[in-house]
């Protein structure tokens, strides 16, 4: 279980999070929605201890993350897969080496045969051909990089998966593929996931519950239906803005196809 208890964070004078609380049950997928720069990624980084809250507590698997010692944190992180916004693949390593780094058990990591097999399996899980293993990140498309990032995150068979804007910068077709992948992994691996996104449609598709982060606070938490039915002005404003963006995007696509 992941629990955020009244966490606050500021960078210089900019208050990013102000008393945010959220609980994610085991096996549940929660999407953290909100406009850009609202502190979604900061929240995600606090869950695996990359950032510490100024106040409040983050509890993962019963462990108080901000108070963990270095080796305890490393141990906890080996149970958390993290998918970065732009993949964050190691440029100088091949795809296979990148995925192998995700195998966090040291004995398994040293076992070459196991690693080769696991790399193949992870590539299959993210719908990539086995020959991608020998390529370098520079040779991959944006969508493929994201999928390799997901493959690396699941290579260590984590209990938790954190996705940081998994569909940002992708065209609608590729975004749909990634959403489908998150859905499949949720069902096949039964992991507890937090998906940070500003894509409403995708979030409603992959998440059991959605939380809206607005002006440093959680404004609404609930299922897709509950969020859509919400009378909260911030929720409505955000959904309207997303609808407008979708229409602009659709018009742009139509124009491109027409041309």
């Amino acid at each position: 279980m992941i629990e955020l208890q009244n966490i606050s964070k500021r960078f210089l004078s900019n208050v990013v999070l102000d008393g945010v609380s959220l609980a994610v049950q085991d096996g549940e997928t929660v999407a953290l929605l909100g406009p850009s720069g609202v502190g979604k990624s900061v929240t995600l980084k606090m869950i695996n201890g990359l950032l510490k809250p100024d106040s409040g507590d983050v509890i993962v698997d019963g462990l108080h993350v901000p108070k963990l010692k270095r080796h305890e944190l490393a141990l906890l992180r080996s149970r958390i897969g993290y998918v970065f916004q732009y993949g964050a693949l190691f440029d100088s390593d091949t795809v296979a080496e990148n995925i192998r780094l995700g195998i966090t058990d040291e004995d398994q990591h040293r076992d070459v045969a196991y690693c080769a097999e696991r790399v193949k399996e992870c590539l299959r899980l993210v719908n990539l051909a086995p020959d991608v293993a020998d390529k370098y990140p520079a040779e991959l498309s944006g969508g493929m990089k994201k999928r390799v990032g997901i493959a690396r995150a699941i290579a260590g068979k984590p209990k938790y998966l954190l996705y940081d804007e998994p569909t940002s910068g992708l065209d609608p077709v590729n975004a749909d593929v990634i959403d489908g992948l998150i859905e499949r992994l949720r069902d096949e691996l039964a992991v507890t996931s937090v998906v940070v996104s500003h894509d409403v449609r995708g979030s409603f598709r992959v998440a059991d519950r959605v939380a809206l982060l607005w002006q440093a606070k959680i404004r609404a938490v609930g299922t897709a239906e509950e969020i859509l039915a919400s009378r909260d002005s911030a929720v409505q404003q955000f959904l309207e803005r997303d609808l407008e963006m979708s229409l602009i995007q659709a018009e742009g696509n139509q124009e491109r196809h027409g041309a």
Binding site: A74, R77, Y82, F84, L101
Partner: protein, 269 residues
């Protein structure tokens, strides 16, 4: 009363003006100390950094050899020509052998090699680590429960500390050889005279001094750029700033260490 208030305002103004640089220096000193402690702690994880260290050593050693030898060769040649210009007719020719070999071993070999490598290796380390920081590759390593210190920093630093002194010794030898060939061509210096002069003024301490100096410089060339690159912020602009800062800081530190080691090791008053 007005004078007191004015004086207090002035103190406050200069206090505020001076606080930022002081905080900056203290902050960096603290972070650098923590980095050194982390590096020392990471030394036990040799299984992680040793294979990567060999790759780095090959990159920086083999890749830098040509430019290091080229610069050392020119330094030896120019020292030889200038010695001829200043000494001819005034001192016995064998003095040229002493001047060329001692200049190369004591100063030109270690300092020029370190300055070139500060530009070549220092810039490379800072840019690589800075890019990895801003593209979240370092965060990714940490999120996988792996230490960036043992995966990224230790291999680079140990590789530099092993390779730079070796390159310095090659530079010393090349500078002396080219210096001798130039003196032979321009001054008509014989090998016997050159060897006599070089041996007459040579003390084993000189070579130790050159080696110790090169180890100190290797520390500056690797540690400073790694520290600056590792702490890069603010995107592509930050990487550019980190690279420039790393090269300048490493070069200035080399010059300071040069003066310090001369004072300490040669006992010059």
């Amino acid at each position: 009363m007005a004078a007191v208030t004015g004086a207090l305002d002035l103190v406050r103004y200069f206090g505020r003006w001076g606080r930022r640089p002081a905080q900056h220096v203290l902050g960096n000193a603290g972070r650098f100390t923590y980095l050194l402690i982390d590096l020392a702690r990471g030394l036990t994880e040799w299984r992680v950094y040793l294979p990567r260290m060999f790759t780095q050593a090959t990159h920086i050693g083999y890749g830098s050899l040509f430019i290091v030898l080229l610069v050392a060769g020119f330094a030896g040649a120019v020292t030889s020509l200038q010695t001829g210009y200043q000494f001819t007719g005034a001192l016995p020719l064998y003095y040229a052998g002493a001047v060329i070999s001692e200049s190369m071993i004591l100063e030109l070999g270690p300092v020029l090699t370190a300055l070139i490598l500060a530009g070549r290796i220092g810039a490379r380390y800072a840019a690589e680590l800075g890019t990895m920081r801003v593209t979240e590759q370092i965060d990714a390593l940490e999120s996988l429960g792996r230490s960036p210190i043992t995966h990224l920093l230790l291999p680079r630093i140990i590789a530099g500390i092993l390779v730079i002194p070796a390159l310095t010794m090659f530079a010393n030898a090349t500078g002396i050889l080219v210096g001798y060939l130039t003196a032979k061509g321009s001054l008509g210096l014989t090998y016997a005279d050159f060897e006599y002069g070089a041996r007459y003024f040579f003390r084993p301490l000189d070579l130790w001094y050159s080696l110790i100096k090169s180890y100190c410089f290797a520390g500056a060339v690797t540690l400073i750029p790694c520290y600056i690159g590792y702490n890069t912020q603010q995107g592509a602009e930050g990487v550019g700033r980190a690279t420039t800062t790393a090269v300048v800081s490493a070069s200035v530190t080399i010059l300071l260490l040069d003066a310090l080691t001369t004072k300490l090791l040669l006992g010059v008053k």
